[in-house]
């Protein structure tokens, strides 16, 4: 693929790049600009997920900073819900822990607004948005510096209120596409999405997996096909089960970004467990927090490195195919 793309020739390559730059300038949405910038730099986006309030509300900004320092380009901040049906055990446990410690929508926006230096996206379930009233929820997101939202239990058919409310602001509504999504639905989703398309890598819930799903490539191919038919260009990022460097590297060969969540939470969970044993000793607890943050940063760094791809790879080839 690398060889084929590089054979395009220098002149057309240059025009492609300038075209990209022009396209980038035309985009007024912050999240898509991140993808654009990265693409010019020969990188893909590393999208991190954390649960607000895990391991605590106080530590959440520091956790975010560790991920940002490690190179996370976009940060999804989860507002935990009591009944997270799309999540596997790791995020379920983090959500339950966070809620028990008092996390709620008010506190969430406080915590989120303390996180700086990265594009922020809210991830939550629809009832929490609805309860706040969709319009107000989006306004509060914007006040907290959040540029977009992902709601895993809000399919495009039910999203008209959300889309209407987001239109008044430059706010991205990010939809999911799964291995079972038909091309007709993909078209419907592409037509209302902004920010990026969240590709669910597999049939299942979030969580660390050993193997990368085989369903990713066919799903992305279907999206690309519909994208070129509908003449819609929007970044595509892959999540669910993406938990290792080699996963990120493989995903970045064919997509514009990789989303990692449970693997970060797991690192925190492990430190929490070892920390609990030494809780009585304040100095140790402090040391352990430091170690946890260092581990998170290191892991993010390693993942970020895996998003570096040569400029003339599949992405360039794809751009060339587009009208």
């Amino acid at each position: 693929m690398y060889v084929r793309a590089c054979a395009v020739g220098e002149a057309s390559m240059l025009s492609m790049i300038t075209e990209d730059i022009n396209q980038g300038e035309g985009i007024d949405m912050a999240i898509e600009r991140v993808f654009e910038r990265l693409r010019r730099e020969g990188e893909r986006a590393l999208i991190g997920f954390i649960t607000a309030g895990y391991p605590s509300a106080e530590l959440t900004p520091a956790v975010a900073s560790a991920l940002i320092d490690g190179g996370v380009d976009i940060l999804e901040i989860g507002l935990p819900f009591s009944d997270p049906i799309a999540d596997g055990v790791t995020i379920q446990r983090a959500s339950e822990h966070s809620l028990k410690a008092g996390m709620n929508t008010d506190l969430y926006f406080e915590v989120a607004s303390q996180i700086k230096g990265v594009e922020k996206v809210c991830l939550s379930y629809y009832n929490l948005v609805l309860r706040r009233k969709t319009e107000r929820f989006i306004e509060e997101c914007i006040s907290a510096g959040i540029s977009g939202i992902i709601v895993p239990d809000l399919p495009v058919e039910e999203a008209s209120d959300m889309l209407k409310a987001s239109k008044n602001y430059d706010f991205d509504v990010i939809f999911l596409v799964s291995p079972t999504t038909t091309e007709r639905r993909i078209a419907k989703i592409l037509n209302v999405s902004s920010g990026f398309i969240y590709v669910v890598s597999l049939l299942g819930v979030t969580g660390v997996r050993e193997r990368l799903s085989d369903a990713i490539s066919p799903t992305i191919h279907r999206i690309r096909r519909v994208q070129s038919a509908e003449k819609i260009s929007i970044p595509v990022a892959v999540g669910f089960g993406i938990s290792r460097e080699d996963h990120v590297r493989a995903v970045c060969e064919i997509a514009d970004g990789a989303i990692v969540g449970s693997a970060f939470i797991k690192i925190m969970e492990e430190h929490m467990h070892s920390g609990e044993l030494k809780r009585a000793d304040k100095l140790h607890a402090f040391e352990d927090t430091k170690n946890m943050l260092a581990d998170l940063k290191n892991f993010a760094q390693r993942l970020k490195k895996a998003t570096h791809v040569a400029l003339c790879s599949d992405q360039a080839a794809r751009t060339a195919e587009q009208p």
Binding site: F81, S82, D83, P84, I85, A86, G88, Q92, E96, L99, N104, T105, D106, Y125, Y126, N127, L128, V129, L130, R131, R132, P152, D153, L154, P155, E157, E158, F175, L176, V177, S178, P179, T180, T181, T182, R185, V200, L203, G204, V205
Partner: protein
């Protein structure tokens, strides 16, 4: 009155399909299959045969003479019980599980999964799965496993795999979450056999259609017995399947319809399962409905002495009918329920499920209020109380039995 869901699966504002993207195509497939087989003569003949020969339908509409004269010595008030407790498995649940398991079979699925609270739906699913040779996994909260041991044993005996859910409230709500997660993962070969008129469209419609048989029979039977329709029909409401089942064919008639929710320790205590009486609009388990939730939208734990009513949501069509004023909603406390449970046993020799005893309480109240009037009450006696005897014994300890 809107009698069918609209294109987006809603009854008025309620219902819809708030499900993860992975499930959307499966729900489309299910909707398509349901409409196809629902009209199919051979499917219906097969289901009718199963309902008749396996489940024991039609169930009798029984004139509870002793209970009636206990409430109104003049003998003018007449209480009828629709004996769903006599359906194989011990509750109305099997009407739905046979229908859906047969649908699963026709759709080529090899495995069914289900959630269960009281265990009645789990047992009915396990039975239907055995009968139709499907693999069967049942999700059940560990708290429900504890209080419904008898049904756990029955499910295991029936070859079902009972998967304990030790998360959240450890009851029905969390069993549904876990079943949904399983379905998301195994959607290609697995049929999610939901037990009530809840969940994303088309489930509320499918379950109502398979439970309608209760109302259809009742209509015929009450006309045979009384030569007219009843004044009122009473049913308990957890998710609302037995209520929708008996109400639906009377919606356009001049018959009062009353749903009885679980008031638990009292609506003011916050320990109840009364989603319509005391809940607010929200989205849970794929549907827009009335929910028990806090100011932020986190789902509250429900509570009831009857595990089958211990659910913080309710079927969207029932919410719609209540909002329209067509169905009147009320609630019975644990104590009122236990009294009704005892009265029915003493007067009629029938031990009702604690769920159904909520409806019995309401019927006794109505009968007393209408003393001396020509007044016909039909109660959906949705299940039998064998599963509840230990809970009831404990709750009634100290009382002279």
């Amino acid at each position: 009155m809107q009698l069918q869901p609209d294109e987006s699966g809603k009854f008025g504002r309620y219902g819809g399909r708030f499900a993860p993207e992975v499930l959307i195509s499966a729900l489309d497939e299910l909707e398509h299959a349901f409409f196809k087989f629902h009209e199919d003569k051979s499917f219906n003949a097969e289901l009718d045969n199963l309902l008749r020969t396996y489940a024991g339908r039609p169930t009798p509409l029984y004139f509870a003479e002793n209970l009636s004269s206990f409430c109104d010595p003049s003998g003018r008030v007449r209480i009828y019980l629709k004996r769903e407790d006599l359906v194989h498995g011990g509750a109305h649940k099997m009407n739905n599980t046979l229908g859906q398991a047969l649908l699963a079979k026709k759709m080529g699925k090899e495995r069914v999964i289900a959630e269960t609270g009281a265990g009645q739906h789990g047992v009915a699913t396990a039975m239907a799965a055995v009968k139709l040779r499907l693999k069967c996994d049942i999700y059940m909260g560990t708290e429900d496993i504890e209080r419904q041991r008898l049904n756990v044993f029955r499910m295991k005996l029936l070859g079902a795999n009972v998967i304990p859910v030790d998360k959240g409230s450890k009851t029905l709500k969390d069993a549904i979450n876990e079943a949904l997660r399983d379905w998301v993962t195994n959607v290609e070969h697995t049929y999610y056999l939901i037990g009530s008129v809840v969940g994303p469209h088309p489930y509320p419609l499918i379950v109502r259609e398979f439970q309608r048989v209760i109302g259809i029979e009742t209509r015929k039977q009450i006309i045979e017995a009384e030569g007219r329709l009843p004044d009122v029909i009473v049913a308990c409401v957890g998710g609302g399947s037995n209520a929708m089942g008996i109400f639906y064919d009377f919606i356009e008639d001049d018959v009062e319809l009353i749903g009885v929710e679980a008031a638990g320790r009292g609506l003011h205590t916050g320990m109840h399962g009364a989603s319509i009486c005391a809940g607010e609009d929200g989205v849970l388990h794929g549907m827009f409905s009335k929910l028990l939730q806090d100011e932020y939208g986190q789902i509250n734990q429900s509570y009831s002495i009857a595990a089958g009513l211990d659910y913080p949501g309710v079927g969207p069509e029932l919410v719609f009918l209540a909002e329209q004023g067509r169905v009147k909603m009320t609630a019975a406390t644990d104590n009122e329920t236990l009294t009704a449970f005892k009265i029915l046993a003493e007067k009629e020799g029938i031990i009702p499920a604690l769920e159904s005893a909520h409806a019995i309480h309401c019927a006794i109240k109505l009968a007393k209020k209408n003393r001396g009037r020509e007044y016909i009450i039909v109660v959906n006696l949705s299940g039998r109380g064998d599963k509840d005897i230990f809970i009831a014994a404990e709750a009634l300890a100290g009382e002279t039995l």
